[in-house]
């Protein structure tokens, strides 16, 4: 990674220019540009942070500080699919750890690790704000897989192995299901 010179393509630079135009200072665009970089490389390792700093003409220390503040930026290379298993209170009560251990079992890795084929990383995370549909898993800072059961987890892993991401689902709290159903009928 370090040997080859990292750079943004013209297209990406255009995108960055557009992002910069939305903010009063280049500094304010740090978060968005780090996303551009993470989308491209899959992580923001120090070299990528340096690239972002160079592109925005900011001190490397500042970009490093920002990147290290947010857990959603991956400071090291992760698997293609990063499974963020919520083990915060609601998920924990509804079996969050069961989900975590099941995933660990199936993939043969522990939380915080990445599979050898580079396909999966598993992390234990705090509340993702989906307490109503616990237990749940977030996939690579993106879609949520909600109301998980053992079968659902296996299905999810199977689908991901085949490169199929779960669809975004619009969730309704269980206690509201009937009411909403009645209202829409």
């Amino acid at each position: 990674m370090a040997e080859q010179e990292l750079h943004f393509t013209d297209e990406e630079l255009n995108e960055i220019e557009k992002i910069k135009a939305k903010f009063p200072t280049a500094k304010a665009a740090t978060l968005r540009v780090l996303w551009v970089a993470q989308k491209k490389y899959g992580h923001v390792e120090p070299e990528v942070q340096a690239l972002v700093a160079k592109t925005l003409d900011l001190p490397e220390s500042h970009v490093h500080g920002v990147a290290s503040f947010y857990t959603q930026y991956y400071k090291e290379e992760m698997g293609k699919f990063v499974l963020d298993v919520c083990t915060c209170l609601s998920c924990q009560l509804c079996g969050g750890y069961d989900v975590l251990h099941q995933i660990e079992d199936r993939l043969g890795i522990k939380a915080g690790e990445t599979t050898d084929d580079g396909l999966f990383s598993v992390q234990e995370v705090e509340c993702l704000g989906a307490c109503g549909y616990a237990p749940m898993v977030q996939i690579t800072n993106g879609v949520y897989a909600n109301n998980l059961t053992e079968e659902k987890v296996d299905k999810l892993l199977e689908n991901l192995k085949n490169g199929k991401m779960p669809e975004f689902e619009s969730m309704v709290m269980r206690q509201n299901e009937k009411r909403i159903k009645a209202a829409t009928e």
Partner: protein, 578 residues
């Protein structure tokens, strides 16, 4: 005039003031960590909480509303305010921890929170004794902590750069160091990484904190998180004496403090002077303490055969010196003053040899073009170049000096490493009888036929004129073989109740250098030569300079002490300001 009421006292103010600074200016105290008068105000340590409010004024009548007791009604702000970021308004009421139990409680609780993950390792911490966290915890903090859970562990002994070591566990994330690199040194080398209870200051990955001003972060760190790699574990602060002095490593003349123990200077820290260096100094100046302790010229030495120098007695040195002078006419003697020596030394030397018929002393500025940075590092490598100019010594370039040396039969050099800084080669000094007044055994001193050891800036009171023409002076900080801190009333003695005990800052009588102030040696030489020349003290020399040379009119040590230096008029001088 707008008025504020602080702790039930009325104060008038003009212009914009922040409550904390205003309170400090009145000589009162509110504890704080992150605030620094020369940097921006982030209000992130939350320690300077005060209770604040506003007297209620009727908009129509402009009268204060009164309660049933006839007292003015106060509308308190809904929460405690951080006084560092609280701008004073007309009619504002502030209660500090002195009068408000709420403020006292707020400060106490903030400290308890700050200390949750602090290791409390004061007994092995370098900052102990000069630590705002330690002091304020004793003063305002809780008796104990309710947090009995395991502390969060963070990196320790991290070498941030060549001169600064970080202990992240001690850090309270005040961001003073980060703001210093952003706002003062402008290298932006530091940032706070991670978040929550795991954060601490750090450089970007694979970068080192090699800022030329990096050690200022050690000074402003309100805890023991950033420590000087060089000074760590060398001494406790209460074992040292603190003496004001002047940085002699460049032309800026930063105001400094010398910290001494057992007649050794152990560290150098900046001393605030708004007109010169504010609170800062370059890292280079801090390593100058080695010049004061090591490789000193101690006892006169003389070259007897070939190039071998050996120590000799003072009597022999004086006799040799006098015989050399007597054997030559004044014309054959070349006197070289020094921008590295003080005003008093240059003047005394020049006057002495003028009396003997030598022509006006020369000097060569020590300037490295492009070395400076426009802040506190200057092209000028010497502390007193302008002093030499104002004393009307002959400013001579390298070539002319070498020519003059080759023509002279006797060459007298005042502590200036001419060989080391490549003004002349050691071989150039071979044909003349060279006498060096030296503080350190430099290449020049080693190449000399006679070396007279003289006191350095840490051992005498003398003044230096910086590149902006400000004259500032030093105090004796360490004893020589011939001085005694009880008798030398200028020296800081340490605590009198400890004098002569095991707890004195002078436990051993070692590390005293066998040297004399230049003027004392000249007195002895004058006596031997039968010359009418005698000075008691550098103070007398300065008095003479001030009456003889218009540029130094009204300059006295007292005035320098009162005003932190005196600005001299450089108008008649061609001064390169770099």
């Amino acid at each position: 005039m707008p008025e504020v009421f602080i702790d039930n006292e009325r104060y008038e103010f003009e212009g914009d003031h922040m409550a904390l600074q205003f309170i400090l200016d009145q000589g009162m105290e509110v504890p704080f960590f992150c605030y620094h008068p020369s940097m921006s105000i982030p209000a992130n340590c939350r320690q300077c909480m005060v209770k604040a409010g506003q007297y209620i004024k009727d908009d129509e009548t402009g009268e204060y509303e009164l309660d049933e007791n006839g007292e003015r009604k106060i509308r308190w702000f809904p929460k405690m305010q951080t006084s560092c970021a609280l701008k004073l308004q007309d009619g504002m009421v502030i209660q500090t921890q002195e009068t408000s139990e709420e403020a006292e409680r707020a400060q106490k609780d903030t400290l308890e929170l700050l200390l949750i993950n602090h290791p409390l390792d004061c007994p092995i911490c370098d900052q102990a004794g000069e630590c705002p966290l330690q002091i304020q915890t004793y003063k305002y903090g809780p008796e104990g902590s309710r947090f009995e859970v395991k502390k969060v562990h963070k990196p320790k002994r991290v070498e941030l750069g060549p001169r600064v070591t970080l202990d992240a566990e001690r850090c309270i994330n005040c961001t003073r160091c980060v703001r210093f690199t952003e706002e003062i040194s402008e290298t932006n080398q530091l940032t706070i990484v991670s978040r929550g209870d795991k954060n601490y200051p750090m450089t970007a990955p694979n970068q080192e904190f090699d800022d030329p001003y990096s050690m200022n972060t050690v000074d402003i760190c309100p805890v023991g998180a950033l420590t000087s790699t060089d000074f760590r574990f060398k001494a406790r602060v209460w074992e040292m004496n603190q003496t004001p002095s002047i940085d002699i490593t460049n032309g800026k003349g930063c105001n400094i403090d010398l910290w001494t123990r057992d007649n050794q200077v152990l560290r150098i820290t900046p001393r605030q002077n708004k007109a010169v260096n504010d609170y800062w100094m370059p890292d280079e100046g801090r390593s100058a303490y080695e010049l004061f302790n090591e490789n000193r010229a101690s006892r006169p030495s003389i070259k007897l055969d070939g190039s071998n120098q050996s120590n000799t007695s003072w009597n022999n040195a004086i006799e040799t010196f006098a015989e050399t002078i007597e054997a030559h006419s004044g014309d054959d003697v070349l006197v070289i003053g020094s921008p590295h020596a003080s005003v008093e030394e240059n003047y005394a030397l020049n006057k002495f040899f003028n009396l003997l018929g030598a022509s006006n002393a020369r000097f060569t500025p020590h300037i490295i073009d492009g070395y400076g940075d426009g802040f506190l590092i200057t092209d000028d490598q010497a502390p007193n170049t302008n002093g030499c100019r104002l004393l009307n010594l002959n400013e001579t370039d390298h070539k002319d000096l070498a020519t003059a040396i080759s023509k002279a039969k006797v060459c007298i050099i005042l502590s200036d490493n001419l060989v080391g800084r490549k003004v002349v080669a050691a071989s150039d000094l071979g044909n003349t009888y060279t006498i060096s007044f030296a503080t350190n055994m430099t290449e020049t001193a080693k190449a000399s036929d006679l070396v007279i050891p003289i006191t350095c800036v840490a051992e005498h009171a003398a003044s230096y004129v910086n590149i902006d023409g400000r004259i500032q002076r030093s105090f004796p900080a360490k004893e020589t073989k011939y001085t005694n801190r009880r008798l030398n009333l200028e020296m800081s003695e340490g605590r009198l109740d400890r004098y002569g005990t095991n707890f004195d800052n002078w436990v051993s009588e070692e590390h005293k250098v066998d040297c004399l102030p230049l003027w004392d040696f000249l007195n002895k030489l004058a006596e031997r030569l039968g010359l009418d020349y005698h000075v008691n003290h550098s103070r007398t020399i300065l008095a003479e300079i001030s009456s003889a040379i218009p540029s130094f009119e009204n300059v006295t040590f007292e005035k320098m002490d009162e005003q932190q230096g005196i600005q001299l008029n450089l108008d008649n001088q061609k001064i390169k300001q770099k």
